[in-house]
């Protein structure tokens, strides 16, 4: 096999495209452009990389950083893109978390912790691969992952508590109103 064909590329997009776009959103607002450029690079690779998913995360990261630098240079374009911000997650009523809330929580994480969480949970990379991706050791990546989960757990608890308080206040208001 000399190069990745269209069928293999389609499987990669179906299986990991969303996670890669989410990963690219850590740096730039035009995350799909970063993924598209990375996929084009992957098509040109001969021979293809041994681990295409990890390779794509590397390339998407680099592309997203380049695009982010371009975005910083064009602040007007950045503001326009900010107004057209897309949702990071699919709205799912069965999921415990709201997509916008989850995106907001991820935004509140430190950059490296956020990157590790996205690569591990939605990118399904091993800690060794995450360590190579972030230029750290696998144990350091694991530590950051645990720290990020702890921070996200606190945020989720706070959110659930605030939701619970809000519902309780709503019930009290309903009762007083009746």
């Amino acid at each position: 096999m000399k190069q990745i064909d269209g069928e293999q590329l389609q499987r990669l997009i179906d299986g990991h495209g969303a996670a890669l776009v989410l990963y690219a959103r850590q740096w730039c607002r035009v995350a799909e452009d970063a993924l598209q450029e990375a996929l084009i690079d992957l098509l040109r690779q001969a021979p293809p990389p041994d681990r295409p998913v990890a390779w794509l995360f590397h390339t998407v990261r680099r592309r997203a950083m380049n695009l982010a630098r371009g975005e910083r240079r064009r602040q007007e374009h950045q503001r326009r893109a900010g107004r057209q911000r897309e949702a990071w997650f699919v709205m799912d009523p069965d999921a415990g978390l709201d997509s916008e809330e989850l995106a907001s929580m991820l935004h509140q994480l430190p950059a490296l912790e956020r990157e590790v969480v996205v690569a591990r949970i939605w990118g399904e990379l091993s800690f060794e691969e995450i360590g190579q991706l972030t230029s750290t050791s696998s144990s350091a990546a694991h530590r950051r992952y645990r720290k990020a989960l702890a921070l996200l757990g606190e945020m989720i608890s706070r959110e659930e508590d605030s939701d619970g308080n809000h519902e309780q206040e709503q019930r009290v208001a309903d009762r007083s109103g009746t």
């Binding site: 495209g17 969303a18 098509l43 040109r44 990071w88 997650f89 999921a95 989850l102 757990g153 989720i156």
Partner: protein, 233 residues
Amino acid sequence: MNKNNASPIDPERDSESPGLPEQLAKVERQLKKAQPSPVDLDIHVLEQAAFPNPRRQANNGVSRRRRYRSAGYLVASWVCGVAVGALAMFLVRGPDAEKKISPVATAKHEESPEPREERAILAEFPVANAGKETAPSNWNAKEAAILALTMSKGVLGYEQGGVELRAGMYLFPEAGESLERMASIRQSSNVDDNEPTATESFQMPARGLAPKSETTREQLMREMLGGSKDVIL
């Protein structure tokens, strides 16, 4: 958490990280339930972006191959031509080439530069016994005088000085020493008049090339034609 909600594409999507406390594992499962927004990318657009104008690339490759092939044919034919030419030259001009030289070519090298026709005429000319024999009876006086003058000015004069006659040489020997000198030369030489050879050599001083008298050729001709046949010979 319910693992049945995981993506059908990859069953390992819900795999938990090992060594996590229960609280963190719960957060992890909660996060994995969220699905990132899907992407909509056109494979054909990507392929076109990766390989712009693939047909043209293929054509370039084909034309390049054809160019290389034709260049190879050209070089091969040139090498074959050189080899065949070298073989032919070896066969024609090999070590035995000297033996194959034709007799005609050898004979050309042996030709003498001396004027054989004039030598033949000289042999026929009756001067072997100068003063005793006369010219053939069918010759008139004018022809005999002209021939004698020519012989004395040309061939004989040079032979006496030992100068070899060559093409383009300006013949102008001394006019006054015509017949007597010619006769004495013919007598003193041991050459067989009937068989003149190309190896004859005569000694002639260089001064013989320049005329001593002021007499012009026209005056000399007139003087000689005015005399009798016996005087000339």
